[in-house]
C-alpha cells in the first residue's frame, strides 16, 4: 500500500505519454485544442487517454463512410501488399541460399585466394541488386499509396503493414506452394529433389530470414515512402508528373519482372520478352527513388544555406 501513490503516478505518466503519442494522429490545431481542454478540465490520465482514443478512433473511422478509402484498399493496399510479399519472399529465398553457402563453407584461408574474391564480389553485387530493387519497389509503393490518399496516410500505413505481414506469413508461402504445383501439373516437370533443400530445412532460412528481409527491405522503405510523399505538394506540376510516370513505370516493372506471374499467363517461354531493351530500361527507372532522395537532400541543404545567408 505504501507505494500506491508512486505506482499511481507512474500509471498517470504512462497514460499522459500515450495521450501525447495518440495526439500525433490528430491535426496539429486540433491536437493543441484537445490537449488544452484536457489540461483545463483537470481530468485524470486514464480519462484523458480514453477521450483522445475516442476522438482519434472517430477521426480515423470518418473517411470510411466514403467510397475512396475502400477503393484504395481494394485497388492498391491489398494487391501491392501481396505483390511485395511475394517478391520479398522470392528475393529472400534467393539470397538465403548465398548466405547459407558462405556461412556454412567459410574458410579464412580462402581470403587470400583471388578467385574467392571474384566470386564473392559477383555474389554480393547480385544480392545487393536484388535488395536494392526490392527497396525501390517498396518505397515507390508507399509513395504511390501516400500520394493517392494523403489524409489517410496513418490508417493506410497500418493497413499496408498488416497486409504485408499477412502476405509474408500466409499469402506468399501459399502462393509459391500453388506455383510449384501448377508448374508440375501444367508443364509436366518431373519432381526432382530440391538442390536447396539443406538450406530450407533450417527453420531460420525457411521462417525467420524471409520475415527479416520483409521487415527491413519492404515494411521500412514503404512506410518511409508514404511519409516522403507529403513533399510532393510543394513541387512544380511538371516535376510531379515526372515523378508519377517514374512511379507507375516502377510498379509496372514490379509486375513485369515477377516471372511467376507470367507463368500463369503462359507467356514465360516466349523468346525476346525478357532481354528486350525496354525491360532493361525499366530496370534503371526502378531506381528513381535514389535520385529523388538525393535531389531532395541537396535541395533542402541548399534552402538551409540560402536561409542562413
Amino acid at each position: 500500500m505504501g507505494d500506491e501513490p508512486s505506482c499511481g503516478s507512474m500509471v498517470t505518466r504512462v497514460c499522459w505519454r500515450l495521450v501525447d503519442i495518440l495526439s500525433l494522429m490528430l491535426h496539429p490545431d486540433e491536437r493543441d485544442v484537445v490537449r488544452g481542454d484536457l489540461t483545463e478540465s483537470g481530468v485524470a490520465g486514464s480519462q484523458a487517454l480514453r477521450d483522445v482514443l475516442g476522438l482519434v478512433a472517430r477521426r480515423q473511422a470518418a473517411p470510411w463512410a466514403h467510397w475512396r478509402p475502400w477503393l484504395t484498399l481494394v485497388s492498391l493496399v491489398a494487391p501491392l501488399g501481396m505483390l511485395l510479399s511475394v517478391t520479398s519472399r522470392g528475393t529472400a529465398d534467393g539470397s538465403a541460399v548465398y548466405v547459407w553457402m558462405y556461412a556454412n563453407n567459410w574458410k579464412w584461408g580462402d581470403l587470400g585466394n583471388a578467385g574467392f574474391w571474384y566470386v564473392f564480389a559477383e555474389t554480393v553485387a547480385l544480392v545487393f541488386k536484388g535488395y536494392l530493387t526490392l527497396v525501390c519497389w517498396s518505397w515507390t509503393s508507399g509513395f504511390v499509396l501516400g500520394s493517392v490518399s494523403r489524409r489517410m496516410i496513418q490508417t493506410n500505413s497500418v493497413l499496408f503493414s498488416l497486409m504485408l505481414w499477412f502476405g509474408a506469413l500466409v499469402g506468399a508461402p501459399r502462393y509459391f506452394a500453388y506455383y510449384f504445383q501448377y508448374v508440375h501439373r501444367t508443364f509436366g516437370f518431373p519432381s526432382l529433389p530440391d538442390p536447396n533443400a539443406p538450406v530450407f530445412a533450417l527453420a531460420f532460412y525457411r521462417e525467420m530470414f524471409p520475415l527479416i528481409v520483409q521487415a527491413v527491405l519492404v515494411v521500412g522503405p514503404s512506410l518511409w515512402g508514404m511519409r516522403q510523399c507529403a513533399r510532393m505538394a510543394g513541387l512544380r506540376p511538371l516535376l510531379r508528373k515526372i515523378l508519377w510516370i517514374a512511379a507507375i513505370a516502377t510498379l509496372a516493372a514490379m509486375v513485369i519482372q515477377n516471372p511467376e506471374l507470367w507463368v500463369f499467363l503462359h507467356v514465360y517461354g516466349r523468346p525476346g520478352i525478357w532481354d528486350s531493351w525496354q525491360i532493361s530500361l525499366l530496370q534503371f527507372v526502378v531506381y528513381w527513388p535514389l535520385g529523388y532522395l538525393v535531389a531532395s537532400a541537396i535541395g533542402r541543404r541548399w534552402h538551409r544555406r540560402m536561409a542562413s545567408i
Binding site: 493543441d32 485544442v33 488544452g36 481542454d37 489540461t39 483545463e40 482519434v56
Partner: protein, 109 residues
C-alpha cells in the same frame, strides 16, 4: 433536422455566448444532462455543425490555464439558431399531452 446532440451543442454554445469553446460547451452539456460528454463526440459534432453552416469556429488565444494552448471558439450562426428553434418547436409539439410533459416537475436549476 438536427439531432439531439447537435441541439445540445447549439443550445450550450448559445447560452455561453462569447465564452463558447470546446471545454466550456462540454461542461455545460455534462451539467445539463448529467452524463459524460466525450471529446470525440463533441469535436466531430462541432465539425458536422460547421459543415452544415450552423456554427462558425475560430482558434482563440492561448491561456496559462490551458498550458499555453489555444481554445476552439464557437459562434452559433443565424442558420444554427433557426435549426435549434425548429428542433425545440418539434420536441415541444410532439411532447404535448404526453405523461412526462403534463406531470413535469420544476428542475432545481
Amino acid at each position: 433536422m438536427i439531432g439531439e446532440f447537435e441541439y445540445l451543442i447549439l443550445s450550450a454554445a448559445t447560452r455561453l455566448g462569447e465564452d463558447a469553446y470546446g471545454a466550456a460547451i462540454r461542461q455545460e452539456i455534462e451539467d445539463a444532462t448529467r452524463h459524460r460528454c466525450s471529446i470525440g463526440a463533441l469535436y466531430t459534432t462541432l465539425d458536422r455543425l460547421e459543415a452544415k453552416g450552423f456554427i462558425k469556429t475560430r482558434m482563440g488565444d492561448p491561456t496559462p490555464q490551458r498550458g499555453g494552448r489555444p481554445k476552439r471558439m464557437v459562434r452559433v450562426t443565424a442558420m444554427g439558431v433557426h435549426a435549434a428553434s425548429d428542433f425545440y418547436a418539434a420536441v415541444t409539439r410532439v411532447s404535448r399531452g404526453v405523461s412526462w410533459e403534463t406531470n413535469r416537475v420544476a428542475v432545481p436549476w
